[in-house]
Symmetry: C2
Subunit: 244 residues, 2 copies
DNA sequence: CGGGGGTTTGACGAACGTCAATCGGGGTGG
DNA sequence: CCACCCCGATTGACGTTCGTCAAACCCCCG
């Protein structure tokens, strides 16, 4: 496990630093600067809208804890979730800033977010090329996840979709130190999974039951336990995203 | 019909200029510059790969005529099309440049493409802010279309999906003067439509048959004739994308 | 006048959705 | 500490949408 020994007091910005470090080799100065960002994160309850699709893009933010998502409601109430936002993810920073407007962004759990304007501004400074690269690579990764989402929903079965999504989330959470090879948190209701995967709640439940029966994975009390990642990889055709 | 009277000789870059003009108010100098870009467009046959997802992003390009798409093959041969690329669209220019790597880009018809490096370079020049805006807005639109695609595939029926996609394409083609309220070109086989909409070819055929029977639209010899756009809008929940 | 790729159709089956009831577990108030 | 409660998970029965297979058809082109 790639667990970095942090100072005595756990830093709230740890997920952000982990993620950006994984995307580009940050200089100690930037890391120091990011660490000190820990200025009064705001907390919001589940269901809180960080951004409405009808309104202008919201201010830049960093998600420090909890989960959120981008989503859209059809006029008859059907919902489609486009992407999940997990700790360490940036919202509206860098090239992604203007692109990602025009979707709802909603908290799925209690969340804490940091004002991202400091990060946003630091990105533009010429003395931090690595930070710019990291943010740029983050945008690329987001794109890959979006394309993955389309392929899942368009061309994979419910069983394959579920495996693929869970492996993708495991990959993302491993980056920020929240998951390992055998387990990860998943604070989502089956409703939410259904709206992300283009399925009904009932069918999500049945799909998970099958994974349980086959002893490939298990979801219990907000945690996924992976019993056979390799088998999941095979059935889902998942491959870890590559940059460059 | 918003048909601009062009000079005696039709300009090959007309679709590009129309599209960018619709995205930002270009100065006459830029338009003049873009018009003169008409340097030996390259032509490619259907099936030609402009970019392989396994390789680095290809050089910047502008599609002048014909259709292409971004797509991905699963390891067992299933194909998902992410987005269509139509005349006037830019490939790998501006903020979209680094984002859109990692997908196959394939010609669906005979196409002609322009080297886009001149445009790409002009975008960065400070004396052309409108051009930068236009390219930026183009990226935003592409994002909206990507989100539309996810919603279609994830939460709409085959019937709704088809109507929604066709209206979206009509919207895009109207921008470049290739479509009007009652018809547009659609040089796609039902196979391709199926891979874009996450359906089987047979079901695409049946869906189109239903539209024909209901006298909402008709596809014949590469052209869509719209008989009742308003009805299509209602069933598909399509709304023209808004920037800002 | 044949091909040949794309379209159309029918018969059948599988995957997934809907409806409705039941279960379970974690939080809350007494 | 315990009973209650409520939201989410689970299950069964049934219906619909959509996929698959295979054949026939059509149109364009050589």
């Amino acid at each position: 496990v790639n667990r970095v020994a942090v100072a005595a007091k756990p830093q709230a910005t740890d997920p952000l630093i982990r993620r950006l470090s994984a995307l580009a080799s940050l200089s100690p100065e930037i890391i120091e600067r990011l660490t000190r960002l820990e200025a009064r994160p705001q907390t919001h309850p589940p269901g809180f809208y960080l951004q409405h699709e009808a309104e202008a893009a919201c201010a830049a933010r960093v998600l420090l804890s909890g989960w959120a998502c981008r989503q859209h409601y059809l006029s008859d109430g059907r919902r489609q979730i486009f992407a999940f936002i997990v700790p360490g993810d940036t919202i509206g920073i860098g090239a992604a800033a203007r692109r990602t407007a025009r979707t709802d962004i909603v908290a799925l759990t209690p969340i804490s977010v940091l004002d991202g304007r400091d990060v946003e501004q630091a990105v533009t400074l010429p003395q931090h090329p690595a930070l710019r690269d990291a943010i740029e690579n983050a945008a690329r990764l987001d794109d890959i996840f979006l394309f993955n989402q389309i392929t899942r929903i368009g061309r994979q079965t419910a069983y394959e979709r579920m495996a693929h999504l869970l492996l993708e989330l495991q990959f993302r959470l491993k980056t920020v130190g929240l998951a390992d090879e055998t387990s990860m948190p998943l604070p989502l209701t089956q409703d939410v999974l259904a709206d992300a995967l283009g399925l009904s709640t009932v069918h999500v439940n049945r799909t998970l039951k099958q994974f349980r029966r086959e002893e490939l994975l298990e979801i219990k009390s907000g945690k996924v336990r992976f019993f056979d990642v390799e088998a999941l990889r095979l059935v889902s055709d998942f491959q870890p995203p590559k940059l460059g």
